[in-house]
């Protein structure tokens, strides 16, 4: 029975999708707009993923189940699932976090009336698509789920589509991620042309064999790798395609939590982790991944410093944290190629896990605050809040835990992963010196992270109420706070995940490194860290204390400025007006994007106009004129005189007879 769950792992993405289909097409009779059914679907995925995971940590993976899908004369394209260590772990994580978010939605969306049916159908499809992306065994199937996810994000961000800003935000998300998707498709096609298959394992083994024989063509692979990373940049909102994520706040907060924590943006990180066995042959790609990630980490953190909307602060924080993950993947990839250590790769996934949990917690907490403020004009404006701690104890304390984890304070989960991201970057700097610069940027970003997170917490929960709504705020229902408490509990102990043994594996690092070892043998040469080694490394390295001090400094600054008013934030803002405006204007990147887009639009439109006016109109108008003039001549043949017609017929038939008799035989007819 349990063993069969591995064989039927392809059902994991299907439960929520089936639930979503039932809710969408037959859902009027289900109570709560379909919430119970979608919850059941996601819970089924979770249970199934858990059973699969329990077997995989005993060494059951990699296990592939696939069917022939498109059979061509030269190629066969299959569809199926690949259950290996990475995908089984991520499907468990995704389904778990998504399940809590659906439970939370039950209460959060209860005021939405009939529109909830649309919400639950789209959420179910969204979660199913993410699970499909993670579990797919080939690039094509992965891309299909990837695109379904893009569609669902569009639909959910635009859930309140009657609001113009929500409609615009959904369109922006769709179009911006589309740029990345096209690049991803190009990358996939290049790999297909190169290896003749979409199947991950076949590509990995072909690449490994070619590298072994020294016949690997690196130029197309580097190009394909950068294109695939382009897809991840779009989906995971990295610079320069990060602009859609902050605007995605227009959707319901639960959707934001889903996008930021469990689905969508994590798909990009997953994609790079999944492609690791190809990228190890072309380390150039890792440089690009690390550089973009490191730069995004600090860019987004700087913008989060000045936002007044809780959700926007969290959105920039997500972009920044994803930047850390890509930095870890890039630096970790270089470390893997140079020294054979899989630490960076594992740390990136570890940070992904921790971030999924604490960012879900923070967003659901923000939703809980918004729920208390739902009468306010802008329920997420932190300038209207303050002093909520005494009124919303559960939300306040769980968000404090999430904030401490995000800031990287020991012993919360974020501390272990974030600190190690920086340590890995520093280690990789030995081989690629420019990574030292990204380590420094990452450290500054860590300071900013601690500051903006606690600026938010102090402004929302500490001090005195700054508006009537804040005075009358009250705690959200238990159905909403329960997921917060569960997530906070995991955030508290999440750091242990890296230390405890995983089934037959020594720990998370050994567990994840096994995949790379299977697909690209010979790269992982350093044995995974034991818990003792990990901890002693962590607590004897001076870098750890530097980043802890930096985080503590950020919190202290936030405390001084926003609780005690020394220095007064308003004065600081007045002092640095230019900088403040640059940050609130998001480094004018929206303007730059708009400028580039409108430049191209104007150029293309201008060229089209010229083509339309002179070439198309000239051609069509000329043809019409010519035919009209020809008609003017031809119609005079219509004399109205019957005898003329008769003569014409007779002469024509005569000519035809002559032609048939004499001319055609000569022409060989």
């Amino acid at each position: 029975m349990v063993a069969a769950t591995l064989e039927y792992a392809w059902l994991i993405p299907l439960y929520p999708i089936i639930a979503a289909a039932i809710v969408a097409f037959l859902g009027t009779r289900i109570k709560q707009g379909g919430a119970p059914l979608v919850l059941l679907g996601v819970a089924a995925s979770f249970v199934h993923a858990l059973l699969v995971f329990l077997q995989v940590i005993q060494g059951a993976g990699p296990h592939q189940v696939s069917w022939e899908w498109i059979v061509l004369t030269t190629h066969t394209i299959s569809m199926g699932v690949l259950v290996d260590n990475l995908s089984s772990f991520l499907s468990l994580l995704v389904s778990f976090v998504a399940m809590l978010i659906v439970i939370y939605s039950w209460a959060y969306m209860s005021q939405e009336g009939t529109g909830r049916r649309r919400y639950y159908a789209e959420v179910g499809l969204f979660i199913g698509a993410m699970l499909g992306t993670v579990l797919a065994d080939n690039l094509l199937l992965m891309f299909i789920f990837w695109e379904i996810m893009g569609l669902c994000s569009y639909l959910l961000i635009g859930y309140w589509f009657r609001k113009p800003s929500a409609a615009a935000a959904s369109l922006k998300a769709f179009l911006v991620t589309r740029i990345g998707d096209v690049m991803l498709l190009i990358g996939i096609i290049i790999l297909f042309l190169h290896f003749g298959t979409f199947d991950y394992r076949q590509i990995f083994s072909a690449a490994a064999a070619a590298a072994e024989a020294g016949t690997l063509e690196t130029v197309p692979l580097v190009f394909a790798g950068i294109m695939i990373f382009g897809g991840a940049v779009g989906k995971s909102a990295q610079f320069p395609l990060h602009v859609w994520l902050p605007d995605a706040m227009e959707g319901p907060t639960t959707v934001s939590a889903l996008i930021h924590a469990a689905t969508m943006v994590k798909a990009g990180v997953f994609l790079i982790a999944r492609s690791f066995p190809i990228f190890v042959h072309t380390p150039e790609v890792f440089l690009v991944v690390g550089a973009i990630g490191g730069f995004t980490a600090i860019l987004a953190a700087s913008m989060a410093l000045v936002m007044n909307d809780i959700k926007r602060v969290l959105a920039y924080s997500t972009i920044s944290q994803l930047g850390y993950m890509f930095l870890a993947l890039g630096a970790g990839g270089i470390l893997l190629v140079m020294t054979g250590s899989s630490l960076g790769y594992a740390i990136a996934i570890f940070h992904l896990m921790n971030h999924a949990v604490f960012k879900a917690l923070l967003f659901l907490g923000a939703g809980s605050v918004g729920h208390a403020f739902h009468h306010a004009a802008d329920p997420y404006d932190m300038r209207q809040m303050g002093g909520l701690h005494s009124k919303m104890k559960r939300t306040s304390i769980t968000m404090l835990i999430g904030g401490l984890a995000l800031a990287g304070i020991v012993p919360f989960s974020g501390f272990f992963s974030k600190d190690k991201v920086l340590a890995v970057t520093f280690d990789a700097g030995l081989h690629e010196p420019f990574l030292y610069a990204f380590w420094a940027l990452g450290l500054i970003a860590a300071f900013m992270t601690a500051y903006y997170m606690f600026r938010m917490w102090f402004r929302v929960f500490a001090g005195t109420p700054r508006s009537k709504d804040a005075e009358h705020a009250h705690e959200s229902p238990n159905l909403m706070t329960a997921p917060l408490i569960v997530l906070a509990g995991i955030t508290l102990i999440g750091g242990l995940a890296f230390l405890v043994p995983w089934g037959s594996y020594g720990g998370m690092q050994a567990f994840l490194a096994t995949d790379i070892n299977n697909y690209a043998p010979g790269f992982v040469t350093v044995t995974a860290y034991t818990a003792a080694r990990f901890l002693s490394d962590l607590f004897t390295s001076p870098l750890t204390y530097v980043s802890l001090a930096v985080a503590a400094g950020g919190i202290a600054l936030a405390f001084n400025m926003h609780l005690r008013g020394r220095p007064d934030p308003a004065k600081v803002q007045a002092r640095f007006t230019g900088l403040h405006r640059t940050l609130t204007q998001k480094w004018y990147l929206d303007h730059v994007t708009n400028g580039i887009a409108s430049f191209f639009a104007i150029v293309v439109a201008g060229l089209s106009a010229i083509f339309d006016r002179y070439i198309l109109d000239g051609f069509i108008g000329g043809t019409a004129n010519g035919i009209r003039r020809l008609g003017g001549h031809v119609r005079t043949w219509q004399t109205g005189v019957v005898t003329t017609y008769a003569a014409t017929i007779i002469v024509s038939i005569g000519l035809l007879l002559i032609a048939l008799t004499f001319l055609f035989p000569y022409m060989g007819w």
């Binding site: 005079t636 219509q638 109205g640 005189v641 019957v642 005898t643 008769a646 007779i650």
Partner: protein, 102 residues
């Protein structure tokens, strides 16, 4: 019944056809034009019958029946047009009708 040679029949039908053609070319009266057309159709009929006998194939005879039916219909339409023409113009001279032009 003595065999009439094929060439003789073709001669007769060709002559009939040529006379009909000549009639169309030379006359202006609508009635005469109709009659000329009938002559040409019937010359074709003669050919059909002759060749049907020559090849001992009855399908030619079937065509003759079709042509007779169509010729009758055509004549009816033609006469109807001419009667209307006569009502309006008091003549059946087709050269008097020049309004149906560009």
């Amino acid at each position: 019944m003595t065999d009439i040679p094929l060439y003789a029949v073709i001669m007769v039908s060709s002559t009939l056809f040529a006379l009909g053609l000549l009639g169309i070319m030379l006359h202006a009266s609508g009635i005469r034009l109709l009659m000329s057309v009938e002559m040409m159709l019937n010359s074709a009929n003669i050919n059909f019958v002759a060749f049907a006998g020559y090849w001992a194939d009855p399908s030619g005879l079937v065509y003759v029946l079709f042509i007779i039916a169509i010729a009758a219909a055509e004549a009816a339409v033609g006469v109807a047009i001419l009667m209307n023409l006569f009502r309006h113009k008091g003549t059946v001279n087709v050269q008097s009708v020049r309004a149906m032009r560009w």
